[in-house]
């Protein structure tokens, strides 16, 4: 493996069984009773290597599995298949105790700063908790010093450590969420839609903060977002997901200038642009359900270029000119 790779995700598969109770498993059809399970196939064989110090973004519409991917990488969900490596150590099959040192090196920032901070804890308590957990030997003074340091780093007055989350605005709360991730000095941060719940002018502040922190602390980001215009700005590489599969993985510039996959093209053209009349490619129909995935290419039900092969055979990721990886029969055959 490339020594510069910090986190490597290999063929990750995550399924959720939503059958429910024991009785719900029985189906009656054609005069017979059969037992079956209902499974949501949230992530189907996704591989991404994240290099030290880079920002890789995962984009896609709601339900495409991007958040599930993030949580599975963090070990918040167990993976069904596939592997996750952290600096060449396989971490997805570790026990809780073995995993703990990795949890301090990988931290997560969540979408909703209203839901992810405990309303009954002061900012100081919120920020002290991860330090106490991961470094129990640290004395009180050192912990307080560390808390003050991270608060300063994210632009919150350290004197506010006695305040409660409800006293803060949305942007300030998200700063505290970021500070909480930083308290244990991680190398890798997974940010799951960190700015989706914030206003435009505040989004810019948080994005700038995240970029500054990346520089100062040499952080590596896995950035989950549905907003392509944000992703273009901060990421080095972008992965586009659709229905649990990766359609395209490319350098950010390459992806925005020369999108290869028909879904990426549609997604890009759907971004509203300032002052320009809408001239986007229309996608027909809705995203199919991840319970009954369409056979073949998952995108073929909405793709203008789909042919018989797309309906039957699952396309594999193919590296094309410019280093872009794309999973599309049309691109492979030179039709697109």
């Amino acid at each position: 493996m490339d020594p510069l790779v910090l986190v490597s995700i290999r063929n990750l598969v995550k399924r959720f069984d939503i059958t429910g109770g024991w009785l719900d498993q029985f189906r009656f059809s054609g005069g017979k009773i059969s037992k079956e399970r209902t499974v949501v196939r949230a992530v189907n064989g996704v591989s991404i290597d994240v290099a030290q110090g880079e920002t890789v973004s995962v984009v896609g519409e709601s339900g495409c599995g991007k958040s599930t991917l993030a949580r599975t990488v963090m070990g918040l969900y167990p993976a069904e298949e596939g592997e996750v490596y952290y600096k060449n150590t396989r971490i997805d099959n570790l026990s809780e105790a073995q995993r703990q040192p990795f949890r301090a090196r990988m931290q997560m920032v969540f979408q909703d700063p209203y839901a992810s901070l405990n309303p009954r804890m002061t900012l100081g308590e919120i920020l002290r908790e991860p330090i106490r957990f991961h470094q129990p030997k640290l004395d009180k003074g050192a912990v307080a010093e560390k808390v003050a340091l991270v608060m300063e780093q994210v632009g919150i007055d350290p004197d506010w450590h006695t305040r409660y989350p409800h006293e803060l605005s949305g942007g300030q709360r998200q700063r505290i969420s970021i500070a909480r991730a930083l308290t244990v000095e991680p190398e890798f941060i997974v940010a799951d839609e960190p700015i989706a719940a914030l206003d435009v002018s505040i989004q810019a502040q948080i994005l700038n903060l995240m970029m500054d922190l990346q520089e100062q602390n040499n952080l590596t980001y896995l950035f989950i977002s549905h907003d392509l215009s944000v992703v273009e700005h901060i990421s080095k590489r972008v992965a586009v997901m659709y229905l649990g599969s990766m359609c395209e993985l490319a350098q950010a510039e390459e992806l925005f200038q020369r999108p290869r996959h028909p879904y990426t093209q549609a997604l890009l053209s759907a971004i509203p642009k300032l002052g320009k009349a809408a001239s986007h490619e229309k996608l027909t129909g809705d995203v199919p359900s991840p319970i009954n995935l369409p056979p073949g290419c998952v995108f073929h039900t909405r793709c203008r270029h789909a042919n018989d092969r797309c309906r039957l055979e699952i396309p594999q990721l193919l590296t094309v000119e410019g280093g872009t990886q794309v999973a599309c029969h049309g691109v492979e055959e030179g039709r697109l």
Partner: protein, 319 residues
């Protein structure tokens, strides 16, 4: 030009215990016949309250403190509750943000559509159904005959919003107020819904007030834009003019903060600070605490007036 809707010096107050908060502060606006106006602002700017107050849907502790709303020459702000019911959903329709919250989950789509028509007109059941089907076709719902008997949960988010648009069209309104109609939807679906709204406004000759926080969306759909900040309109002008040549420091800041306006890998242009809560709006210009141009004169409240650029701007510093 024919004025469809005129709002004059509208003030909306919310009284909480002993304090009174002004959510909409002295707003004057007008919409011409079949014109599309965008109201843009961040959360808490008062844009939704303004939208609601047009059809007097402000509930306690809020109230319209002063000002008038005129619809095609009639002063609807002085109407009684019963008179207002004849306006809402009839001459002015409203589309809300969350399509799941707007539709009644225990009634079929058909029942909800018929209810709207029957509230405003008396006609035979066959005629009512014919109108429902016609409007569902207008919003491109496939096989509408079958769909009439289905419940909201059988539709996807984008389809639900189409149905809500169809319901808002039932009585051939002259004005539609759309409050963040695509915020709960994915980008590809958002693009479809915006196209649909634009097309319908043009073919049905309806006026549209589009309330949103998304400057890019508004710039594609509307002809004029009003920017709100802390309850007041700070800038108003033709869309093209406002996007390419913003005058008010807040509008400039908002546009500059968009990622597409930043250089790649560079920092985004941020507006320092946050919008003040209604209880903490500073004296004078409400934006002065975050403004790089602020001077002593900003301690007095600026008025919205036409500046050399052609837009109306509420700022002492803009010539």
């Amino acid at each position: 030009m024919d004025k469809l809707l005129t709002i004059n010096n509208l003030n909306v107050d919310f009284t909480l215990r002993s304090t009174t908060l002004r959510a909409v502060n002295n707003v004057s606006l007008s919409v011409n016949k079949s014109e599309r106006l965008g109201i843009v602002g961040e959360s808490g700017a008062g844009k939704s309250v303004l939208g609601f107050s047009i059809i007097n849907l402000i509930s306690k502790p809020g109230r319209i403190a002063s000002g008038t709303v005129m619809l095609q020459g009639e002063e609807i702000s002085s109407y009684t509750y019963e008179q207002m019911r004849q306006i809402r959903g009839n001459r002015i329709s409203m589309i809300f943000q969350d399509p799941m919250m707007t539709l009644n989950p225990v009634l079929t789509i058909g029942e909800q559509m018929r209810e709207t028509i029957n509230a405003h007109a008396s006609m035979s059941a066959a005629d009512v159904d014919a109108i429902c089907l016609e409007k569902l076709r207008k919003v491109y719902i496939p096989s509408p005959e079958k769909r009439l008997d289905q419940y909201p949960h059988e539709f996807s988010g984008g389809m639900r919003q189409r149905i809500i648009i169809a319901i808002s069209l039932l009585t051939n309104p002259s004005l539609i107020i759309a409050d963040e109609p695509t915020t709960a939807l994915d980008v590809t679906i958002q693009a479809e819904i915006m196209d649909l709204l634009l097309e319908l406004c043009e073919t049905e000759h309806m006026g549209l007030i589009l309330i949103t926080h998304d400057l890019a969306v508004v710039s594609q759909v509307t002809q004029r834009i009003a920017v709100m900040y802390a309850g007041s309109i700070v800038e108003q002008g033709a869309t093209e003019q406002l996007i390419t040549n913003p005058q008010h420091p807040y509008t400039k800041g908002l546009l500059g903060a968009l990622p597409q306006r930043a250089s790649r890998d560079g920092r985004l242009n941020q507006i320092p600070g946050v919008m003040p809560g209604l209880a903490k709006i500073p004296e004078g210009c409400s934006f002065r605490n975050r403004c790089s141009l602020a001077a002593d004169i900003c301690l007095t409240q600026p008025v919205l007036e036409e500046k050399t650029s052609g837009s109306q701007v509420a700022c002492h510093m803009v010539k």
